[in-house]
């Protein structure tokens, strides 16, 4: 069965890049949903069965760490892997994300090969 993925980023440019790279991994991916902030992402989770979330940290309305905390606090969503993709490269932000339950962390900027390799790793881990 194809994996359903949610990409959360306030930048439409980054969402477009991630959509393209995810399709290029050659993995079995179904719908790739998009959200522009944490609130929109929570709404998407309510309405769809998501297998993997890729989320930015620095976003308006609800940032990525608040969103991650909400996901991990929910009995229904706590097992969904959430990978943070962000320019926030500081050790404290990484530690905070890991402490909140992030499954991984990818720092922007990235080359197409780097992000493809990372996403393939995460997808292989969640795909049956």
């Amino acid at each position: 069965m194809d994996s359903e993925i949610l990409v959360v980023d306030d930048s439409a440019a980054i969402r477009k890049i991630l959509q393209r790279v995810l399709r290029q991994t050659g993995m079995s991916i179904g719908t790739i949903y998009e959200a522009g902030d944490g609130q929109e992402a929570l709404e998407t989770l309510k309405n769809h069965k998501i297998d993997l979330v890729l989320s930015d940290i620095n976003m308006p309305k609800m940032d990525g760490l608040q969103f991650l905390a909400s996901v991990k606090a929910s009995a229904a969503w706590k097992d969904i892997p959430v990978v943070m993709i962000t320019t926030e490269g500081g050790e404290t932000r990484v530690a905070e994300a890991v402490k909140l339950g992030a499954s991984g962390y990818v720092r922007k900027p990235f080359t197409a090969d780097q992000i493809k390799e990372k996403l393939t790793e995460f997808l292989e881990a969640i795909l049956p």
Binding site: A13, P60, T87, E88, G90, P109, T111, A112
Partner: protein
């Protein structure tokens, strides 16, 4: 330039070269680096701003021509971008986020934790931009395919809440 200005200038160069190399698969060449104490002259084109806040506060800014903004978008998204539109402005915003985000990460070991705001991008003609309370910008120019990108950063110490921890209202000390 002071020790901090050199640190910021070096970080701007490193971060800009890295972002262009990774996200656009492009090599930019560092041109001049200077400290400017007045606001930029009225200009045309695309200008972005992003705020930095913490024990040191200020802003970062990128400026380029409309054609360079279109080229940045085309390379970043692998798409055709013949004119400045929402997608082009969004690509410049993300480029700003990554370049100044890289500077922020470089500076945090010396200046303490810094927050990064959401970027704003302006596209127009004959406009002038000024940051309130900003007196000096570290300005670096980069050349890319006969176009010029200007990256500016300004940072100044703020009186911080935890200063009372040190027993006085002093800014976060620079530790290089």
């Amino acid at each position: 330039m002071t020790e901090l200005e050199n640190l910021i200038a070096g970080s701007i160069a490193r971060s800009t070269l890295e972002v262009f190399s990774t996200m656009l698969d492009a090599q930019v060449a560092l041109g001049t680096v200077s400290v400017e104490s007045r606001s930029p002259e009225a200009s045309d084109g695309v200008v972005s701003f992003i705020g930095l806040a913490g024990a040191w506060a200020g802003a970062g800014s990128l400026a380029c021509s409309p054609s360079m903004a279109c080229r940045i978008c085309s390379r970043m998204l692998m798409t055709e971008s013949p004119a400045v539109d929402d997608e082009v402005l969004d690509a410049v915003a993300e480029l700003t986020n990554m370049v100044i985000g890289g500077v922020k990460t470089d500076l945090e070991p010396s200046l303490g934790p810094l927050g990064l705001s959401i970027p704003t991008v302006v596209y127009g003609k004959n406009f002038k931009a000024k940051g309130a309370g900003i007196t000096e910008w570290i300005v670096a120019s980069f050349e890319w395919e006969e176009e010029r990108l200007i990256v500016r950063v300004c940072l100044a110490p703020t009186v911080v809440a935890h200063a009372s921890h040190h027993g006085a209202n002093v800014p976060y000390p620079l530790e290089v």
